[in-house]
Structures are given as structure tokens and as C-alpha cells.
């Protein structure tokens, strides 16, 4: 039987899902709930104070992005920002064309609107990825047509951590525009997973739109931004009082915006140091897994510059991810899986499938994503139990990958 821990430890290894809020962020936010609760659109002093705070948050964020304050649109989070980018560009420029290019490994907040636009007559082209989960800039450029209005490629993949060549794609798009004497296509990137680890300099990345949210960088949930390059028009989705330069109506969520700005500032200031630390923990865990557990496979790029430093995605052959997850939960370890059994559609992770992984590999995949509060002790604790858990579930399993073909594929 499995060993039981003397003391259960909570080991949170799902930072790609969301993060705890930083105390400093909470402190910055607090006054704006209670005393400084004004509506930034109000003219009296209380409103003006809120407006000033909003302006300073905007300035902080735009500085982190090397952008202008007026290019920052506050939204309710990553999903809204992605939706606004895609619908906003598609609908504002549909007289020019109805073709969009994206990739097979995007977040559902991008894939959803694209599938919806397709129903309305848009033509969507998806670029594939290689075995490690990388999109090729060349392939994207080759897909551009006269009627392409938008290219949307995520910055860092949430499941396998592959960092996409955003700057390279951005440069190639610039070149295309110049050679063809056109302003199209625009270029959007979802940087939700990248914000804590990579540069967000929009000038270096050559992006026209960029999505960031607060809840992955120790900021509040329900707060996000869309960077929108000057001169690029989008059609708003939420209409009303005309806030955010008429691109996103609704009274600004001042405390959340203050928190988001503080969180982004802290995340960007710490990103190199934190990245190094988390990368070390990732490789340590991966080394230990290889040493102690047979039949495992790393999904995604090698741990290194091509991979988000906090992401480790491993397949444990012959076992099912949700079962692993539930066992780990009993020990206080929290992570996620790409198994079909956890998904609403009973389909395995679209990212692992796009990488050409066989079905049964996705089934046994676990994703660990590290964060600021993790330490070596977490890795040690996890590795005290993980080998036994995998062993136990393997004993229960009739499947032996490499020997028999999987049922789903037997024809």
C-alpha cells in the first residue's frame, strides 16, 4: 500500500492555472475598495482621485510594455482581452477581408472566437506546431493572403511551455506589410503565461495587440489588459459609457487595475531571478522523475531558453492523468493533466494532439507549473510519493504502451 505522509504539505504546482495574490498587491489595492471608491468619470474630488490612480496604473503598465499609456485598455481578464482582440479586429476590418491566421495550440479564449467567426463566414487558417510545440515564423508568413486582417499567435504555451518566436513573426509581418504596401495583417499575441517570465516590450516583439491578465502574475482575478497599438481600430464588444476611449465601456474596476499594475511591475522586476529559480526546480524535478520512475517522457521543448521556466509537462505511460491527479491531491499536491478524462468533451489536450503525441501519451500527462513560493522542499516532498503512486496505478493498469496497441486506435 502507499505510504502516508506524517504531515500533509500543500504543494501548489498549478501556477499556470492561477496564482495566489501577492501581499504587496493587496496592500496597494485596499484603499480603493474602502476610502477611494470614487468613479473615475466623476468630476468631484473623490472621482478625480480615482482617475489619477487609474492614470498612474496605466503609466506603470505602459512603461512595462514600452508603450504609451493611451494604448492600454483595461478589461475583465485574459479571456475578454483575447475576445476583444479577435472580434475587434475581425469586425472593424471586415470590408478589407475575412481571413485570420492562428495556431492549433492557442488558448480557448482565442480558439472560441475564431470558431465563432468561422460560422459567420470568416476563413481561419491554423498553423501547426512541431513535435516540441513550436510554430514556425516562415509557415505563418506563407499563409498570409491579401484578405488576411489578423495573425494571432500565443507568446508562451500554457500546457507545454513552448515559447513562440513572436519577435521573428512580428518582424516578418512588418516586412510583408512594407513589401506589399499595406497596413495588414495586424498581429496579436496572448502573453498571459509569459508576463511573469519574458520581456513584454511591444517594440521588440513588433506586436499590434497583446493580452495580459492579472491572475497569473500574483495579481487579482478579473483584471486584464489589451495593448492596442496607436492607430489600430477595433470594434468594441461592450458598449455603454464610452470608457477606455470607447473601446471598452463600463466603470473601471479601479482596485483591480491598481492591483494589476502593481503585480505587473513586481513580476517584470523579478522575472529573471524568479525564472532562474523556477527553471532550476523544474530541471530538478524532471531529473528526479527520470531517475526514480521508468517509462516517462518530457512533453514540449527541452528545459531551457525555449521553454517557460516554470513549466514541466511529463507523460507517465500506462496510467491515466486524472487518477494520478486525484491521488496527488490526497497528498496535498496540486497540478493538472491533459487527459481526456478531465475534459468536458472527453477529448485529450488539443495542444498535445497538435504536437503529434499519440492519444495514450496525452492520457498520462501531468503538468507541473512552479511559482514564487515553491522551493526545493516541495520537489522533495512530491518525489517522496509520486513514484509509489505511479507504481500503484500501473499495477492497476492493463495497458502497456509499446506492446499492445491502444483500444481507441484498434480498428
Amino acid at each position: 500500500m502507499l505510504p502516508k505522509p506524517k504531515k500533509n504539505r500543500n504543494v501548489y504546482l498549478d501556477h499556470a492555472a492561477t496564482t495566489a495574490m501577492d501581499e504587496r498587491v493587496l496592500k496597494a489595492m485596499r484603499p480603493y475598495f474602502l476610502e477611494q471608491f470614487g468613479n473615475p468619470s466623476s468630476l468631484y474630488n473623490l472621482g478625480r482621485t480615482a482617475n489619477r490612480a487609474l492614470a498612474s496604473a496605466r503609466a506603470t503598465i505602459s512603461a512595462a510594455l514600452h508603450a504609451l499609456p493611451e494604448n492600454i485598455i483595461f478589461t475583465s481578464g485574459g479571456t475578454e482581452s483575447d475576445n476583444l482582440a479577435i472580434y475587434g479586429i475581425a469586425r472593424a476590418h471586415q470590408s478589407r477581408g475575412q481571413h485570420i491566421i492562428s495556431t492549433l495550440i492557442e488558448h480557448h479564449a482565442v480558439l472560441g472566437p475564431l470558431a465563432d467567426l468561422k460560422k459567420d463566414g470568416w476563413d481561419i487558417t491554423y498553423a501547426g506546431v512541431n513535435k516540441e510545440g513550436f510554430v514556425s515564423a516562415d509557415e505563418i508568413i506563407k499563409k498570409i493572403r491579401k484578405d488576411t486582417t489578423l495573425v494571432s499567435v500565443m507568446y508562451g504555451n500554457n500546457e507545454v511551455g513552448s515559447i513562440q518566436p513572436i519577435a521573428e513573426i512580428g518582424r516578418a509581418i512588418l516586412k510583408y506589410r512594407k513589401e506589399n504596401n499595406t497596413a495588414y495583417p495586424y498581429f496579436h499575441t496572448d502573453a498571459c503565461q509569459a508576463a511573469g517570465a519574458l520581456t513584454l516590450d511591444v517594440e521588440k516583439l513588433h506586436v499590434d495587440l497583446m493580452t495580459i491578465n492579472g491572475s497569473k502574475i500574483y495579481g487579482p482575478k478579473g483584471a486584464g489588459i489589451l495593448y492596442l497599438r496607436r492607430g489600430v481600430k477595433i470594434k468594441p464588444m461592450i458598449l455603454g459609457g464610452g470608457q477606455e476611449k470607447r473601446t471598452r465601456s463600463g466603470t473601471e474596476n479601479v482596485p483591480a487595475i491598481i492591483g494589476l499594475a502593481e503585480a505587473l511591475k513586481l513580476a517584470q522586476a523579478d522575472r529573471i531571478k524568479e525564472g532562474d529559480k523556477q527553471k532550476k526546480l523544474c530541471s530538478m524535478l524532471w531529473n528526479e522523475i527520470q531517475k526514480k520512475i521508468p517509462k516517462v517522457k518530457l512533453n514540449g521543448p527541452e528545459i531551457g531558453d525555449g521553454r517557460l521556466p516554470n513549466n514541466l509537462n511529463v507523460t507517465f505511460m500506462d496510467v491515466e492523468g486524472e487518477a494520478l491527479l486525484l491521488y496527488l491531491d490526497e497528498y496535498g499536491v496540486m497540478c493538472s493533466t491533459g487527459s481526456a478524462c478531465t475534459s468536458e468533451s472527453l477529448e485529450p489536450s488539443h495542444v498535445l494532439m497538435a504536437m503529434g503525441l499519440p492519444y495514450e501519451y496525452a492520457h498520462g500527462s501531468l503538468r507541473f507549473t512552479f511559482g514564487r513560493e515553491n522551493s526545493l522542499a516541495d520537489v522533495t516532498y512530491l518525489m517522496k510519493y509520486l513514484p509509489a503512486i505511479v507504481e500503484q496505478l500501473r499495477e492497476l493498469s492493463p495497458v502497456s504502451i509499446g506492446f499492445k496497441q491502444h483500444a481507441k486506435y484498434k480498428k
Binding site: 487518477a323 472527453l346 492497476l396
Partner: protein, 225 residues
């Protein structure tokens, strides 16, 4: 072997097993107990020794899971005196099989005729329910059991008793069978459009539509009614 399990949420409420309410998670105590302490599974050191006279292996097209069941049937009494299983699947699949194995061998063993009549609902009832999305996991056990009993019939030369669950073609052009409809229902289909989506087919032949709708009702009733 057994251990204390935490009280979980009220299972009369529909349960989304992905919801993270923070507290204990959301299967019934019975499911948890069987998941963490599975009974009668085939241990490594038994593989060579365990004597059986019926073995069934099935795969679930729903999410790609697999199950094997080994039965030891007393030819005189036709009772299942012992059984072993292995399951590749989620917590619900493991718990379902474990519970099923317990039902088969308790009280001196279940007669095979009775075993063949077991329905997924019987397993579900004993488990204290599963979330809708997980009902299909319990169906696998039922199918593995039938396959194993059939194997026993074949081994003992009782070919006439073999139950053939032949698939009936509903839409010849698309090669859609009643089995396909059953699986679609288990994967969550409730109306014709769902079936089309799950089976990735276009429009059905007009004549086949009433029959498909009837099967939809039948299987929805069977598994969720």
C-alpha cells in the same frame, strides 16, 4: 488497508468533478474508498498464479480507456468464485470496476446468469452515484464482465450461450450503428445535433432519423433516466 475518508459534498446535487470548492473533492465516500483502496485487482505477483476460465478485454471509445477482467467460474454451480481486474482510466473507472468485482464475489459468488443481467445502474447505485459526465466509466465494467463470461462459454464449448451484442446499422450511408448512438449518449449527446457532432457526420438519411431519435431516448433513459 482501509482508512478514514472525509465527508464529501451531498451527491444528490449534480456534481461537477472539476469544480474546486477547496474542500474534499466531490465523489461519494464509496467512490473514494474504492479508488484509493481498490479491491480484487490483479497484482503483479498474481499474474502467473491466478487461475481463471474466462477473460474479457474491452476498450472504451468514449475517452480511450481500457479494462480487463478475469473470472474464475465454478462449472458445477456456475458461480463466480473469484475475479481479478485491471483498468486504465480515471478515478470513476477504477472505483466502478473495484465495486463491480466486490459485487461479483461476495456472498459465495454471483451466478453468471445473474451477473449477465447486471446493469451500469446497479454499479452506480452501489457507488452512491457518479457525475453525469462520468457515467460512461461504469459502463466499461459491465462490458468487460460480459466479454469474460462469453469467453468462459467459448472455452467450455457452450457456444450457443455466447451473447452477441451485434451492432445494428442505422444509417447505411454513414455506417452509423446503434452502438454508435449508445456511445454518443454516454459522451453527453441528448439531441440529434449532438449525435451528429459526436459522430462527426453531416445530416442523417431522412428515413433513419426517427430510429436515431428513438435510440437516443432509449439510451438516455437507460443511463440517465
Amino acid at each position: 488497508m482501509s482508512k478514514k475518508v472525509k465527508k464529501t459534498d451531498d451527491l444528490s446535487e449534480p456534481v461537477d468533478i472539476r469544480s474546486s470548492s477547496g474542500g474534499g473533492w466531490l465523489y461519494s465516500d464509496v467512490v473514494k474508498d474504492h479508488f484509493f483502496n481498490p479491491r480484487n485487482f490483479m497484482q503483479y505477483d498474481e499474474e502467473e498464479k491466478f487461475e481463471y476460465n474466462g477473460m474479457g478485454r474491452v476498450g472504451s471509445p468514449a475517452c480511450g480507456d481500457e479494462m480487463v477482467m478475469w473470472l474464475k467460474i465454478n462449472p458445477q454451480t456456475e458461480k463466480i468464485t473469484d475475479c481479478r481486474w485491471r483498468t486504465f482510466g480515471c478515478g470513476s473507472a477504477i472505483a466502478s470496476t473495484s465495486v463491480l468485482s466486490e459485487m461479483l464475489v461476495e456472498k459465495g459468488g454471483m451466478p453468471i446468469d445473474e451477473a449477465l443481467k447486471l446493469k451500469p445502474q446497479d454499479i452506480l447505485a452501489r457507488l452512491g452515484g457518479l457525475p453525469d459526465r462520468k457515467v460512461h466509466c461504469s459502463v466499461l465494467g459491465d462490458k468487460a464482465l460480459q466479454a469474460a463470461v462469453n469467453d468462459y462459454f467459448r472455452r467450455t464449448g457452450q457456444h450457443a450461450r455466447v451473447l452477441t451484442a451485434g451492432a445494428k446499422v442505422i444509417d447505411a450511408a454513414l455506417n452509423v450503428t446503434d452502438k454508435d448512438i449508445e456511445e454518443a449518449v454516454l459522451e453527453g449527446a441528448r439531441v440529434l445535433e449532438d449525435v451528429q457532432k459526436k459522430l462527426k457526420v453531416g445530416v442523417f438519411n431522412k428515413e433513419s432519423v426517427p430510429q436515431i431519435e428513438e435510440l437516443l431516448r432509449f439510451y438516455t433513459e437507460k443511463y440517465y433516466g
